[in-house]
């Protein structure tokens, strides 16, 4: 198992060398005198100036890197939120017209179902396919797993830090509702929650009951996005209500 500690080597932005700024303490006094380009100052001042320049470049690089990284983090969350807003609009349009509506003009995916967790006040639109591209916008329905309402196991995955953050609040006995484009609703109740190593996990394609399985990464607060553990919520059907 890989923990964050194992991957410690990747920590710390490479552009910022910690030892450099510790050592590069230029004589502060030199700094306080008005400087002339031609003045023959001591050797210390001559080395201090390039050092300062280097430090400023490092500062600029770190600033840029920091803005890009933090910006990207914000972008990931903004995208996840905004996409759901657009998907809800597309869903309403799809249900009104009966024609699958694209959530945004260049979208290569359409919502296939709506997942509601009443107790947690969560309302998500599920996309076709659980690939990295779809999961950025919403939970993904696994290709090859059953469609909601059909016999078998419906498997839906999403990111633990965006759409499926609410799974940690789900408890056994909680209700889940899945709505289909045509308006049918399927009610499920959470039967069990388990943490499993994804490398040993086999989700049955044809369990005895109609099943909804929600999968996300575990632990919820880990920094590392690549761990093998999965938080698996299994719910079984309670019959269809139209």
């Amino acid at each position: 198992m890989q923990t964050t500690a194992d991957r410690g080597g990747s920590f710390g932005p490479p552009a910022c060398d910690v030892r450099n700024w510790m050592r590069a303490s230029p004589p502060g006094i030199a700094f306080r005198f008005p400087r002339a380009e031609s003045s023959p100052v001591g050797g210390g001042a001559r080395t201090a100036r390039p050092r300062r320049r280097v430090l400023k470049w490092i500062a600029a690089a770190c600033l840029a890197l920091g803005v890009v990284l933090a910006g990207n983090a914000a972008y990931i969350h903004a995208k996840a939120l905004l996409a759901q807003v657009l998907l809800h609009r597309a869903w309403v349009a799809t249900q009104a017209t009966g024609v699958p509506a694209r959530p945004w003009p260049w979208a290569d995916t359409t919502p296939v179902a709506r997942l509601v967790a009443p107790a947690q006040d969560v309302d998500l639109l599920v996309l076709a396919g659980a690939t990295g591209r779809t999961l950025a916008f919403g939970p993904g329905h696994h290709d090859g797993s059953a469609m909601p309402g059909a016999a078998g196991n419906t498997v839906i995955s999403a990111h633990r830090d965006t759409h499926f953050r609410f799974l940690r609040e789900l408890a056994v006995g909680d209700a889940l509702i899945v709505e289909m484009p045509a308006g049918q609703r399927f009610h499920y109740r959470v039967r069990g929650i388990e943490v499993a190593d994804q490398r040993n996990l086999r989700l049955p394609r044809l369990p005895a009951e109609r099943t909804l399985t929600l999968v996300t990464c575990y632990p919820f607060d880990a920094v590392d996005a690549g761990g093998p553990l999965r938080y698996v919520v299994v719910a079984t059907a309670e019959g269809a209500l139209l």
Binding site: A24, G28, L55, C62, A70, T162, G192, P207, A225
Partner: protein, 713 residues
């Protein structure tokens, strides 16, 4: 330099606000220091919390209260370790292979090991022995049910036992009862096979892993119990028996294999090649060669293939080998028809080509690249006047066109874009795709071909082959086996019933060569309406040899009363009657032909099931042949039982399914699911903040403020 100047200027300019600036500086530096400390703390908490979460997990797995089906044999019980040694003796056109499986139990529990593994689809398994230390117990052939009962009986009596069962002609199970703690039980299996001669070269194939199979079906049933991860369904009632657990590639390779081949081809060779593994070849006298893996054992995660090419002058035209056994005479004859008549292909009829490409999850990785490249090459070969269609399938089937379209620049461009955009994911629902290709419409004036690119990783082979047989009409279906561990049984059977031929592509580098050879074959069969007449009283298999394509030989096996006269093959070559006679008197003696004959007969009898023969009659006939020749079949198994009990009375061994590797180049996640379900947002935010902090520190340091701060201003 510029920045420096500006800076000193501003410094001089702001001497007046010295006090305010010092206060502000102090505040900023205090803030920076605080940030450093809090970030360091945050980082420490993150790391610690991750580890705490991981530790807390120790208690969670293993509860097993849910419907999640964990593959048996995985954590917490360690499975026995498996080491395989393969020794092949090639003589002429037959090979005898000894597979030694060593089951080592590193645990402190008594264990029953169950290992599901592949063998060549035409392997005639006729020998088993089990070795415990110095003792050696030979296996006996029994009806499947009886053998299973004898094995279970031995198990309850605390005696060691080994059972070898056939699940598919190319999938077998070895079960070993009562492997003691720290003990090693060695199981040796032997089989005989006829080598494949094609396009001027002999090929020996040794498969090493049963690729994860997709199990179609609409409802779960009890079916036949097994130890795999699959769920038995109405369409695959023995899914549990053909789906061995798979180790994630991140956890390292398991099941090391050594391979040694003693090659006695009987003629001079121009080339020996192993396309997927590095080998060492040493030649001894008389064109005999010893071949071994160059870098020691390899993980059992892809087919081994050995290809040897005769010198042009020594290339065989015909060969006969014979064996006298139990008062009977068996002979195998191979005849290579002459090359197609030059110019016969000049009058090319227009084609209707339908390409089916498997885009299921098992194709993800190197396989889909091979398949797409092969398909693009096939599109290149289409000519004006032809028509074509492309069908992709995974959980759903999607056709490029509603019906085959004429070849022109626009349809070809659409096809290329369609193929380029294909991605592999989801299930392997093959039936709707075959139904879409094998429609019941007619196309007078067109030569109709279906080219089927797949790894064949499905569990319902029989159903699919029956579908091909029923709906083929005047088409010919060609299979292209893709990937490192294709399902050779399905691919060869589909081609047989599709009246076409098959090719295997295991590497992107092979695409051009293998597809080129397939295109030559696609032009037309070189020999049709083949009939064989064997002199004297004889029983010849196969009864109805299929059409031959360029470079392929006819191979027939007979039980006969005498080796007089000659075997006569008749057929139509380029529309003209053709015949050839091979004298039997020239036959060379070779052991193992009787077994090959029995195996060919069993295959023909089993094929008759698809022709509507009753299962009862077929079963009876197969059991009779199999028992007489000591052969493992669908209805007969080999079982070896120790005479004395070695397990303490009352021992119940832990049943443990031996895991396999994932086939090389495949994607575990694409087959078993498990997309990455976390974003790097938290990590990026954290790193971003650290970078910003360093920016502040570097900037302050450049201005000497850190020193200032340290001096206590």
């Amino acid at each position: 330099m510029n920045a420096d100047r500006n800076f000193s200027a501003s410094n001089a300019h702001s001497l007046r606000g010295h006090v305010y600036r010092d206060v502000a500086r102090l505040a900023a530096e205090a803030f920076a220091a605080g940030l450093v400390i809090s970030l360091a703390l945050a980082l420490a908490i993150f790391i610690v919390s991750t580890q705490a979460d991981a530790a807390e997990l120790g208690a969670v797995p293993g509860q097993g209260t849910l419907m999640l089906k964990r593959a048996a044999g995985e954590a917490p019980v360690a499975a026995p370790l498996l080491f395989t040694d393969v020794d092949v003796a090639v003589s002429g056109m037959t090979a005898r292979t000894t597979v030694t499986q060593r089951f080592a139990n590193p645990t402190t529990e008594w264990t029953e090991g169950v290992y599901v593994f592949p063998l060549p689809e035409k392997a005639a398994v006729d020998h088993l022995d089990m070795r415990i230390g110095q003792r050696r117990i030979e296996g006996q052939i029994r009806e499947r049910g009886e053998a299973r009962a004898a094995y279970e009986q031995a198990k309850t009596e605390g005696r060691k036992a080994t059972l070898v069962e056939q699940e598919r002609p190319n999938v077998f199970t070895t079960s070993v009862a009562h492997i003691g703690p720290g003990e090693v039980v060695t199981v040796t299996i032997e089989y005989q096979e006829t080598l494949r001669y094609d396009t001027g070269a002999f090929r020996l194939r040794f498969p090493m892993v049963v690729a994860p199979r997709y199990v179609p079906g609409s409802s779960a049933i009890d079916g036949e119990p097994g130890t795999g991860w699959g769920v038995n369904t109405d369409q695959v009632p023995d899914a549990e028996r053909i789906t061995p657990p798979v180790t994630h590639p991140d956890l390292g390779f398991i099941n090391p294999v050594t391979i040694n081949v003693a090659l006695n081809p009987g003629f001079a060779l121009s080339k020996i090649d192993s396309p997927y593994h590095r080998i060492d070849v040493s030649e001894s006298v008389d064109h005999r060669y010893a071949i071994t893996l160059a870098n020691g054992p390899v993980p059992a995660n892809r087919d081994f293939e050995l290809v040897w090419t005769p010198d042009v002058a020594a290339a065989p035209g015909a060969a006969v080998f014979a064996e006298h056994k139990d008062g009977k005479t068996y002979a195998v004859a191979m005849i290579v028809p002459p090359a197609p008549i030059a110019g016969a292909g000049a009058q090319r009829s227009p084609r209707e080509a339908v390409f089916i490409i498997d885009t299921s999850g098992s194709m993800e990785g190197t396989s889909i690249r091979q398949a797409k490249q092969s398909l693009q090459m096939a599109l290149d070969r289409l000519q004006p006047g032809d028509r074509f269609n492309v069908i992709e399938f995974n959980s759903v089937t999607k056709a490029l066109f509603g019906a085959p379209m004429p070849v022109d620049t626009s349809t070809l461009a659409r096809a290329r874009a369609f193929v380029t955009a294909l991605r592999a994911r989801g299930g392997t629902e093959m039936k709707p795709a075959l139904e879409a290709a094998l429609t019941d419409d007619v196309a007078p004036g067109f030569v109709r071909q279906v080219v089927f690119l797949t790894d064949g990783a499905v569990g319902n082979e029989g159903e699919l082959v029956a579908l091909i047989r029923a709906r083929l009409s005047d088409r010919r279906l060609f299979t292209v086996g893709i990937g490192s561990a294709p399902n050779s049984f399905f691919l060869t059977k589909a081609a047989q019933y599709g009246r076409g031929t098959f090719t295997f592509i295991g590497d992107v580098r092979e695409v051009a060569e293998k597809m080129g050879a397939l295109f030559t074959k696609l032009e037309s069969p070189v020999l049709t309406d083949i009939a064989i007449s064997w002199p004297g009283k004889s029983e010849v298999w196969p009864r109805e040899p299929g059409d031959l394509y360029a470079g392929e030989p006819i191979v027939v096996v007979a039980q006969t009363d005498a080796l007089d006269g000659g075997v006569t093959i008749t057929g139509r070559r380029g529309g003209v009657p053709w015949s050839a006679t091979v004298p039997l008197s020239a036959s060379a003696a070779e052991p193992g032909i009787g077994v090959l004959w029995a195996r060919a007969k069993i295959e023909a009898l089993t094929d008759a099931l698809k022709g509507g023969e009753s299962e009862m009659d077929v079963k009876k006939a197969v059991i009779e042949v199999a028992l007489a020749h000591h052969l493992v079949s669908k209805y007969t198994s080999l079982v070896a039982i120790d005479v004395t009990p070695t397990a303490p009375p009352g021992t119940t061994s832990v049943q443990s399914a031996l895991p396999t590797n994932l086939p090389e180049g495949a994607s575990f996640e694409a087959i078993f699911g498990g997309a990455q379900t976390a974003t790097p947002a938290t990590l990026h935010l954290l790193l971003g903040l650290v970078a910003l902090l360093f920016a502040v520190i570097a900037w302050s340091s450049a201005n000497g403020r850190l020193k200032h701060f340290a001096q206590g201003h």
